[in-house]
Symmetry: C2
Subunit: 230 residues, 2 copies
């Protein structure tokens, strides 16, 4: 009767144990120091046993990345929560993104920076996290446009990407420790965010729409755009 169910339960239990062991090693030592043998030691099974639960090491990290996205969604939601004004919400959300990179550097690296887990790059858009958080943020940007805080020429989706990527750059440079000893990464992240938001108030960037963007095509195009904006 319930034998199939019990077996499945047992499978789930061990699958969870593998993920838990991997997660603990992962946050403690970084994912570069997580090995199948260390995971096996923790769960008191042989390394080969893991392979009947996860096809490869990459798949374990893929599952961990999925956890990371949920963690981040909660982190950002909590940061946005207390604010009602759209610009305030936007600021808080992006700062929450930066803070997440500080609170969970290993997750952040795995989710956004690392190139050694191929499945993550390939299936990145699969994470439904982006549909949820992104939609709200874009609505906030639209609200800022409607209230006259941002340029009417702004494309909310493109603008969100710009903000996201800008803060991500600051977070990455902090994690990679590519700043001089005196420089404060928090200030840098803050300045990037504020500069971008300030830029959104202006009408200057006429090439903001993708189809009009030929800046990178050639030297001639580059100087043409430069002249336009000078």
């Amino acid at each position: 009767m319930g034998t199939k169910e019990r077996q499945q339960r047992e499978r789930d239990r061990l699958s969870d144990a593998i993920l838990t062991a991997a997660r603990e090693l992962f946050v403690a030592e970084g994912y570069r120091n997580v090995s199948m043998r260390k995971i096996a030691d923790r769960i008191e099974y042989s390394p080969a046993a893991i392979y009947s639960y996860f096809p490869s090491k990459d798949d374990i990290f893929f599952a961990l990345a999925e956890e990371g996205f949920q963690k981040m969604a909660m982190h950002i939601s909590a940061a946005v929560q207390p604010a009602a004004e759209p610009l305030d919400r936007l600021r808080r959300g992006l700062w929450g993104f930066y803070e997440f990179s500080k609170a969970h550097p290993e997750y952040f690296d795995l989710m956004f920076v690392d190139r050694s887990v191929p499945s993550l790059s390939q299936d990145f858009q699969r994470f439904e996290f982006f549909q949820a958080i992104t939609a709200r943020a874009e609505a906030d940007i639209q609200a800022c446009i409607d209230r006259g805080l941002f340029s009417k020429k702004l494309n909310p989706a493109a603008a969100l990407h710009v903000l996201w990527v800008g803060v991500l750059g600051a977070a990455t440079i902090r994690l990679a420790q590519r700043l001089a000893p005196g420089e404060d990464p928090d200030t840098l992240a803050h300045d990037v965010l504020e500069s971008l938001l300030a830029g959104f108030t202006t009408d200057i960037q006429t090439t903001f729409v993708a189809s009009e963007c030929a800046f990178h095509a050639s030297d001639d195009a580059a100087s043409r755009v430069a002249q336009n904006n000078a």
Copy 2:
């Protein structure tokens, strides 16, 4: 007589051969796929021989990173060259930075993103490249301020970091392939750059100076700054 010199010449020759082999493997297969044994195979020596020329694998990558900085300095200088106007020079220089990340992704990753070569993080400011390129770029920013193109409240050094980090974020996200299939990374990089430059024209960011920045201290501080700028 010249025996010492000949021995030294021979040492230099082999040291160069090691770096050449490493570089070829590095650009062809990525530095994660460079192994001491593969390098040894190429130079037709045993793996152990390498260790009397480089203390560790990290030191080989450190030397390659140094090459990368020289490469990048040349790339950016060539991009800036044809322009006379400071804003144009700035734009070209930063776009050159982005293009470098496309032309030499492995170098870029090693130089700015990677965390697995500890010596690079530790001695990052040692690369004299930054003194050379940075000084010129800061002068261009100062010129933009003087000509009224940028806010007078702008700190050139901080502003350059902001531009640098913003473009770096776009480059990183492109390399990590964390964009949806439809999205164009070049457009994104361009938008980031233009938004930041546009932001520099405004006086809005009153917290641009480090000492006044308390945005990230607490929720109260965050909302206070938000109100200031709303």
